[in-house]
């Protein structure tokens, strides 16, 4: 194998590793105790409205006002996020995914973080193309 091919091969492997790491690997790191935490605001209409406001202030700048993400930031209406437990998403908000660019939101009061989760879960799974239809 020539040196050029080896470099290209290494590039492909590196790209594949980055994609795999961005593919929800954080979910595997969530401890069971956090995974099972229950959302005290689950299903409350007032929490959805309040969560929408907090989402707009803190999350929409990266994930989009419609939460569908963009080139660099994942959609929050994907099956992976929508099927994650509230506790798993709460763990992600607390810890972030710093190497991947997701900051920690531990300084945001806990009730506000639960309100965001309530709102995001209320959006359901939908892709950009489905919405555009």
């Amino acid at each position: 194998m020539t040196r050029g091919k080896r470099i290209r091969m290494a590039g492909v492997i590196l790209a594949a590793m980055v994609c795999m790491a961005a593919d929800g690997s954080w979910l595997r790191r969530v401890p069971d105790t956090d995974r099972q935490k229950t959302n005290p605001f689950a299903g409350r209409a007032d929490a959805v409205a309040a969560g929408a406001r907090v989402f707009d202030d803190h999350c929409a700048k990266c994930h989009g006002e419609d939460a569908l993400g963009n080139r660099k930031h994942p959609s929050l209406r994907s099956e992976r996020v929508q099927h994650a437990t509230d506790g798993e998403i709460f763990w992600l908000l607390k810890n972030g995914n710093l190497p991947k660019g997701m900051p920690t939101w531990a300084a945001l009061p806990e009730p506000m973080r639960w309100q965001i989760i309530t709102y995001v879960k209320s959006l359901g799974t939908e892709s950009r193309s489905e919405i555009e239809k």
Partner: protein, 298 residues
């Protein structure tokens, strides 16, 4: 005369603030930060990647047996990574019966070494500063900094430059809506004969409401933060301790205007005879979201 200088400064400050706000509004896209409202103490909250925060921090003081002075520092804080924030500072001051002077610049980087959140979260801070002895920004208090430092006239103080490396260990915890932060500060002049200088900063704060309301409002309690901050010097390697050092304690109030700037205020009370009696501190900061993405889109 004092009144005249004060009013001139207020005009300058207001015009700076208006200019800052105008520039920020021109770029658009202000967002509310989760950042605690401290003036001196750093917390573990990093700037979000791609965001630029522009701040103006001002101080107004009338020290005993010295001329009234007003200091201003403009800060540009940028989130390079979720675990790495860089910040650039420009400082100046104006003193009654003295010329207004530029007092120098600082460039700092903050790194979060642990990738998950713990009960106590460390952040490492490294800063290079090139300032002169006319600097009255009080961004930190170390060594035997005291009220006597403000007695030197600006013409004399500006000639004495200080190039230093500053290191901080920032420890910060978030629990039940409270943020508690402690900073251990050390400074080393680049002049090899200069001793290591030490200082500290401690602070605690909390938003007035932990839950967001369902309706948008400007004066909701969740938009206000209250806190308490204490900072001071701890001497040097040659003379470590509280003797001859100055210390300050002040309550803080910050108002995060929805979709607008944050405005903070802190009267810092000097706790001993070495301290300036009272520092009136205020700041306005504005966060521009995803600054480069925004510029490229335009």
């Amino acid at each position: 005369m004092r009144k005249k200088v004060g009013s001139l400064y207020m005009q300058l400050s207001c015009s700076r603030l208006i200019l800052l706000l105008f520039l920020a509004l021109l770029i658009g896209g202000a967002v509310r930060a989760q950042e605690p409202p401290y003036f001196v103490t750093y917390s573990d909250v990093m700037e979000e990647p791609g965001n630029l925060e522009i701040s103006y921090k001002g101080i107004n003081a009338a020290p005993k047996n010295a001329n009234l002075f007003n200091s201003g520092t403009v800060e540009f804080e940028y989130g390079l990574k979720a675990y790495w924030t860089t910040e650039f500072y420009l400082s100046g001051q104006t003193t009654q019966n003295d010329p207004t002077i530029f007092t120098g610049y600082r460039w700092e980087n903050r790194f979060r070494p642990l990738m998950t959140t713990h009960a106590i979260n460390p952040v490492l801070y490294v800063e290079y500063e090139d300032i002169n002895e006319g600097d009255r920004s009080f961004l930190e208090v170390v060594n035997h900094d005291s009220i006597s430092d403000v007695y030197a006239p600006n013409g004399q103080a500006r000639a004495a430059r200080q190039r230093e490396i500053e290191l901080k260990l920032i420890l910060s915890s978030n629990t039940h809506g409270w943020n508690i932060s402690e900073n251990v500060i050390t400074e080393k002049p680049l002049d090899p004969s200069g001793p290591w200088e030490f200082g500290y900063a401690l602070a605690v704060s909390r938003p007035l409401a932990l839950e967001a309301g369902k309706k948008a409002c400007v004066f909701c309690r969740e938009n206000f933060y209250a806190g308490l901050e204490m900072y001071g010097g701890l001497g040097t390697t040659e003379n470590f301790g509280l003797s001859g050092t100055s210390h300050y304690l002040g309550p803080i109030l910050q108002f995060n205007i929805p979709k607008g700037p944050s405005i903070g205020f802190e009267p810092s009370f000097g706790l001993n005879a070495n301290s300036v009696g009272l520092l009136w501190r205020f700041k306005v900061s504005y966060e521009v979201e995803q600054i480069f993405g925004r510029l490229w889109r335009k």
